[in-house]
Structures are given as structure tokens and as C-alpha cells.
Amino acid sequence: MDWSALSVSLRLAGFTCLMLIPIAIWLGRALAYARFRGKGLCEALIALPLVLPPTVLGFYLLLSFGRDAPVGSFWAEITGSGLNFTFSGILIASLIANLPFAVQPIQRAFEHVPHNLREAAWCSGLSPWQTLLRIELPLVWPGIMSAAALTFAHTLGEFGVILMVGGAIDGETRTLAIAIYDRVQAFDEQGAAQMSALLLLVSFITLGLVYGLSGRRRWARG
């Protein structure tokens, strides 16, 4: 069992969720409410990682993370280190690859909040922030939970993008999914089997927990 790979995988999935969910709430809400020219283009851009082969996405990220590319050089300027083959690099790659998994459920949830509920909240004296916290977020909570579950599970399983951007550096960028591949390459079938079973279990528990929790809302029944 490659414990350091498990640790990298869990850290990557955890940080991706923590950082992506607030961004997705903001983006999903904006896309759900706003009517502007080019909205379809924005949505297409966000959905792109769904259909793009991970290696293609990984290839472009690899290019843009290079020290001579704008993103890579900017990062090097503020942190002093590169992005390729680092944990920071695969984290950023993971944020981008998971964008549609996080944004779409949240956007759908916001689209289902009737517009006049917000207006009723304003007319009840709630500021826009209070309206978000007390009315909108409780109502879109199931969407946020499925976004988190999808993002977490998808990050655990991500292979192509991580391999392209991060390689397989032990304790830094080698995730469980990559470790399994390495084990198979080394004809260590038992090691691969153990890790596969673990990944299966973790994914199943995460999804089960989230779907179980989001179904327990008394007011939504009937």
C-alpha cells in the first residue's frame, strides 16, 4: 500500500473541494441569474473539461505552466518556484479540470430558486448578503453537496491531467490513481488490487454520505 500516494490523493481532493466550491458558488450563481451576451460561450468554456481528453487539457496546462509562459512565469515571480511537477501545479490543474463538476450542479440549483424569493427576502429587510446566507444557500445546499461529492470523487480518480502536469513524484504529485498504474506496470498486481479496492471504497463512501445527507430535508418532501 502506497500511503504517501493516498495522502497526496486525499490532500489534492480536499484542497480542490475547499477552493473550488466557493468559486463555483460565485460562478454558478452569476451564470444562473445573469443575462448577458456571451453567456453561452462562458458556459461552453466551463464545460470544456468534460469532453476534452484529459491528456489534451494536461498538455495545454503543461505548456502554460512552463517558466516562459505567462502563467508559469507569473507564478515563479510570486513564489520563486515553477508549477510543473509540483503539488501546486496539480492542484491548479485539478481546479480547472473539475470546474464543470462543481459549477454545473450549483448553477442548476440556483436556477431553481424562484426569483421572487430573493425579492421577498429584500422586502423583509434582508441585505443581499443575508439573503445569500439565510435564503439562497440553504435552498441550493443539495446542489453544493453534489458538486462537492462529484469534485472530490472525480479528483481521486483523475489520471491523465495529473500525469501530464505532475508526473509521478513520490509524496508530491503521485496520486493513488497513478500509483495503481505504476504498480500494474511493475507487475505488482496485489498492490494494485489493494489500492483499487481502497479507492473504490473511499469514492463510494463519499458519494453515499453526500447523497444520504442531502436527501434529509423535511421541508422538501411532499
Partner: protein
């Protein structure tokens, strides 16, 4: 109050002027060309219920949203309780949070994840928690929902949801109460009961109430004042009785589902001005004197001022403008029968009588009956034309 026509310009002062010494009322004047064309002006005094009526798309809801601060027209003013809430010219607009309005939305817009009590508590957040609860309970009792505070909206009936919405609107201690078709989503029986309760509740609150409705009966039953809207333009604001007897134009009469719109010519009969309608010379109580002979003028007669002569004995007003007409159509609607009479020259008179009275007078299709058109009811509409396609003539 007369015809409220093209508004716009600076009207805050005139709005305040409409309520001398009682600056606590509501005054609204808005004007814009698009995207929703609006040209409306109306006022509502504290304790008064103003109904905004008009067909769908006439801008009723937009005006309500303007009062609440949920919609900002290009130009206009909203004043309430002596405060200027909106003044486009000075680029001044209070947010909905700062306007202190109570609003009941058409679909109630209850927060589905909060119980009835929590819904009512939401506007009370300025109070400490125990007091908040007491207040919410108080309002719950006021709308007769004691004991249902712990229910979520989806476990309440339509009528109960409407009451929670009303309690939530009133809990804010609003300066104006806005009701957007609050009775349209419930069944007839519930609607009657809720209307009755609103009429009772009204007596306890001294704020302007604005009701948006397309139901004329509802407006007549509940409102002190009715403002008629058409394509975003406020045509006339008046008490229901005045409005139904003295609509300011044929269009208003038609929007109010009034029939009996005709055209006549002013003539001199033996030194007295009369209105010639077909072969009949009608005596008119007021207004003829201002018109010149030979002028064609539109006129309207409220159905209540058409008197059907009884066959067996004289009727009240029998000698006033008597004429013979043929029964063209009889429509029995329960206790009421709608009667259409064709007068010799082709125009149709329409009025309702009790079904038993129709039977007693042996009204049948094709029968010739005598009616009187009461002189004081004849309402002249100089300067207006009865459109050629008026449905009175088609039928």
C-alpha cells in the same frame, strides 16, 4: 377625481399636494417609453385600499414592483409617508430593504426551508429573539393560524400559505401594504373567505393598501378607489361607484366590462336640448348645455339606470325617456338574467335583472318591451368616439 392623463415631469410636489395635510399617503407617478411603456399616476391615502385593475400586460405588477423598489422606471417619483422613496430626476432611490413595504406576491413566495413561524420572524430580526417569537405568534394568531407555526409551507393549504404571506408582510410594520393578485391561486370558497378576512383586517391597519387584480368584482368589493390601467397608462382613478357610473372614456367603460356605449346627436326640441338617439329624443340630466347643436357625442348608460316597465303596474321612472325595444337575447346565469334589447335603429341595450323578475314579465326572445333610460344616468363623453368595432354592435 378626473382623468389622469399624460403625466411625467416633476410631480413630487403635486403628489404631496394631492394629500394636503395628510402627507402620510402614497403617491406614485412614473413615466417611461420602454422596455415596458408606462405612464401612470395614482395616490392612496392611509387606511385606504386602492385597486389597480387592467388586463394582463397593463403594467399593474410593474407598478407594484416600482413601489417596492424592485423595479426602477426611467423617470418618475414615489413618495410615501412623507418620504421620497424614488425620484429619477435626482437619481434617488431607496433600496427595497429601506422602504419598509409589506408585499404579498402572487405565488406568496414563502421561504420553503423555513416554518410558518420562521417565515414571519424573518422581517422581525431587529427585535431580540424572545420578542421576535412573541410578535410572530401574535401575527400568526391575527391571521387565524394558531398552532400551525411549526409547519413548513408545503404542508399548508393555498389559503393558509396566503395568510402566512400576509402575516409576514404585516410583521414588518410596513408603511404601505402591497398585494399582487393575492387571491388568484385559491379556490372560489377560500377566496371569498380570505377577501372577507382582508376586509376585516383592513380596519385595524392605518396604512395605504395597494391591490393588484384583474378581477373587477374583487376590486369593487374591496377597494375604496380603483385605478384603471391600460398598456401601462393610468386612465382614471375614482371610487368604484363613480367609475362604474361615470367612466371618463369609452375605453375605460370597455375595460370595466361595461356595455351600453352609444353615439347621439345634440338637437333642439321645442327650445330644449335633447340627445337624439335613433328616433328617440333623450332627456339628459347634465352636460348637454355645454355642447353645441348638431354635435355628435358618445354616451354611456349604467345598466342600473335602464328600467324595465312592468306589464301589470307602473314602474318607477316610467315617464323618463320611454322607448320600445325587442328582446334579442336572454342569458340566465343562476339568479341573474342578462337581457339584451335591440332598439329600432339597431343599437343594443344590455342590463341584468333578477331571473324571477324576467319570468314575471314574461320576457322571451322576440318580445317587445318598454324600458326607460333614466335621465340622470346618461353620461355624456364629449370628445370621444365609440369605436366602430365596439362589441355592443357586433352582437
Amino acid at each position: 377625481m378626473g382623468c389622469l392623463g399624460a403625466g411625467g415631469g416633476r410631480v413630487v410636489d403635486s403628489l404631496m399636494g394631492l394629500a394636503p395635510g395628510r402627507a402620510s399617503g402614497l403617491g406614485v407617478a412614473v413615466n417611461q417609453t420602454g422596455p415596458i411603456p408606462l405612464d401612470a399616476k395614482f395616490t392612496c391615502q392611509p387606511g385606504e385600499l386602492l385597486a389597480l385593475v387592467g388586463p394582463s400586460g397593463s403594467g399593474k405588477t410593474t407598478l407594484l414592483r416600482t413601489i417596492a423598489g424592485l423595479y426602477r422606471p426611467q423617470s418618475g417619483q414615489v413618495v410615501c409617508a412623507g418620504d421620497v422613496w424614488f425620484d429619477a430626476e435626482r437619481k434617488h432611490s431607496l433600496s427595497p430593504q429601506n422602504r419598509q413595504v409589506g408585499i404579498v406576491f402572487q405565488d406568496y413566495a414563502l421561504f420553503p426551508h423555513l416554518t410558518a413561524l420562521e417565515n414571519i420572524q424573518l422581517p422581525l430580526r431587529h427585535l431580540p429573539q424572545p420578542q421576535r417569537r412573541d410578535q410572530a405568534e401574535h401575527w400568526l394568531a391575527k391571521v387565524r393560524l394558531q398552532g400551525l407555526g411549526k409547519r413548513y409551507p408545503n404542508a399548508l393549504s393555498g389559503g393558509q400559505q396566503q395568510r402566512v404571506a400576509l402575516a409576514r408582510a404585516l410583521a414588518r410594520d410596513p408603511k404601505v401594504l402591497l398585494l399582487d393578485e393575492p387571491f388568484s391561486a385559491v379556490d372560489q370558497v377560500t377566496r371569498r373567505r380570505l377577501q372577507r378576512e382582508l376586509a376585516l383586517l383592513r380596519q385595524q391597519i392605518e396604512i395605504p393598501i395597494v391591490l393588484v387584480t384583474h378581477d373587477l368584482e374583487e376590486a369593487t368589493a374591496l377597494a375604496d378607489q380603483i385605478c384603471v390601467l391600460h398598456n401601462g397608462v393610468s386612465l382614471q382613478q375614482a371610487a368604484p361607484e363613480t367609475l362604474f357610473r361615470r367612466p371618463a372614456s369609452p375605453l375605460i367603460a370597455r375595460l370595466l366590462d361595461r356595455h351600453n356605449l352609444f353615439e347621439g346627436v345634440v338637437v333642439d326640441v321645442k327650445g330644449q336640448l335633447r340627445l337624439q338617439w335613433g328616433e328617440t329624443h333623450l332627456e339628459v340630466a347634465e352636460g348637454l348645455i355645454n355642447l353645441s347643436q348638431g354635435e355628435t357625442v358618445a354616451w354611456y348608460l349604467p345598466p342600473s339606470d335602464i328600467v324595465l316597465h312592468r306589464r301589470d303596474r307602473p314602474s318607477y321612472g316610467e315617464r323618463e325617456n320611454p322607448l320600445a325595444a325587442t328582446v334579442e337575447e336572454l342569458v340566465v346565469l343562476g339568479g341573474i338574467t342578462s337581457v339584451s334589447l335591440r332598439v329600432n335603429h339597431g343599437d343594443m341595450l344590455r342590463f341584468d335583472i333578477a331571473t324571477h323578475a324576467a319570468r314575471r314579465n314574461q320576457l322571451t326572445r322576440g318580445a317587445v318591451v318598454n324600458v326607460s333610460l333614466l335621465a340622470k344616468g346618461i353620461h355624456l363623453l364629449p370628445g370621444h368616439q365609440v369605436r366602430a368595432d365596439a362589441h355592443d354592435k357586433r352582437k
